[in-house]
């Protein structure tokens, strides 16, 4: 029987933010911190497939919508990595998470729930993510006949929100991204794509895709890891 998805919410800054949940098990409740911005869109389908497989193994998986993303009523331009870190802490507590799993840029904010065991797949540096976002904007502008330099964009970003790859980012977010690296955590399993977990870096592609084998690989690894954590 395929597990049915259900929504919960967690409170943050006066809003009820969405959480997509799969699975009914209470022993292992994994909070999933998705990749950021456009990478999240590209990975979402495969990530939810992985959650379905996990649910079949009796694990509860909870994929949060960060404030300002998807259907959140909070404005994206008011967010920053610091704010998102706090939101993760709120979510972990409110959802009674036992483990935290993050992908790509999710690793830049997962220390918001520092006390729990962590798992990271292909952690990304904020500067690298920002660079790609800036380049996407520059390339798009060039196609439209507007020449803008990276320096001009960075200067504009410090003065007010700018649109990058369809995301309206405020000065605090851009500044946070520029310097952010995944925090060093005491209990953290790091996974490299292609080595520890089989699959393709779907988050790099220009179009969203899905990869059933990768979903299985992610689920199997999370299942093994979370079971071992409990000792």
């Amino acid at each position: 029987m395929t597990a049915r998805a259900h929504y919960r919410t967690f409170p943050y800054d006066g809003q009820d933010e969405h959480v997509l949940c799969l699975g009914e098990g209470s022993a292992r409740r994994i909070l999933i911190v998705p990749p950021l911005f456009d990478e999240m869109n590209r990975m979402r389908r495969t990530l939810v497939q992985a959650m379905r497989v996990l649910a079949g193994h009796g694990v509860t998986a909870m994929l949060i919508d960060l404030p300002g993303t998807n259907e959140s009523l909070a404005p994206l331009e008011a967010q920053s990595l610091a704010i998102w870190r706090t939101a993760i802490g709120s979510a972990a507590e409110s959802l009674a998470a036992s483990h935290v799993a993050s992908l790509r840029g999710g690793a830049l904010i997962d220390d918001g729930a520092a006390g729990l065991p962590h798992w990271r797949l292909a952690p990304a540096k904020g500067g690298v993510l920002l660079k790609t976002l800036l380049r996407t904007r520059i390339t798009g502008d060039r196609e439209a006949g507007r020449a803008v330099s990276e320096a001009e964009l960075r200067a504009a970003a410090s003065a007010g929100p700018i649109e990058l790859a369809g995301n309206r980012l405020g000065p605090a977010m851009v500044a946070d991204l520029a310097d952010a690296v995944p925090a060093k955590l005491a209990n953290c399993a790091e996974r490299r794509l292609g080595e520890d977990v089989a699959g393709a870096p779907l988050w790099l592609r220009a179009e969203p895709g899905d990869d059933a084998a990768m979903a299985e690989a992610i689920a199997e690894d999370l299942d093994r890891w979370s079971a071992a954590c409990d000792g």
């Binding site: 690298v128 996407t136 390339t139 798009g140 790099l204």
Partner: protein
């Protein structure tokens, strides 16, 4: 210097598979003369952004806006030559 010149080409082949999702067999068959931008449907202007950033990350180089002109992605050979020059430079 972290990279031996021969392996720059291997990194780029891996990148075309990873970032553009081009079939491994297609990439393995590429020679210096194989046309890229305009000939490879997976390489459109939006894909360029991701490709450039991954090149920087994997080859440990910096690519400036000024470095990027129409010829860079003209052929597989032009891309490899550019990357090797950056790694050596």
């Amino acid at each position: 210097m972290p990279f031996v010149p021969d392996s720059v080409e291997t990194v780029l082949r891996d990148l075309l598979v990873d970032v553009l999702g081009v079939a491994p067999a297609t990439v393995a068959a590429m020679t210096d003369d194989t046309p890229l931008f305009g000939a490879l449907p997976e390489l459109d202007s939006m894909a360029v952004a991701g490709l450039l950033t991954e090149m920087e990350d994997r080859l440990e180089i910096i690519i400036d806006d000024d470095d990027i002109d129409g010829d860079l992605f003209e052929t597989f050979g032009s891309l490899v030559a550019f990357a090797k020059a950056k790694v050596d430079g």
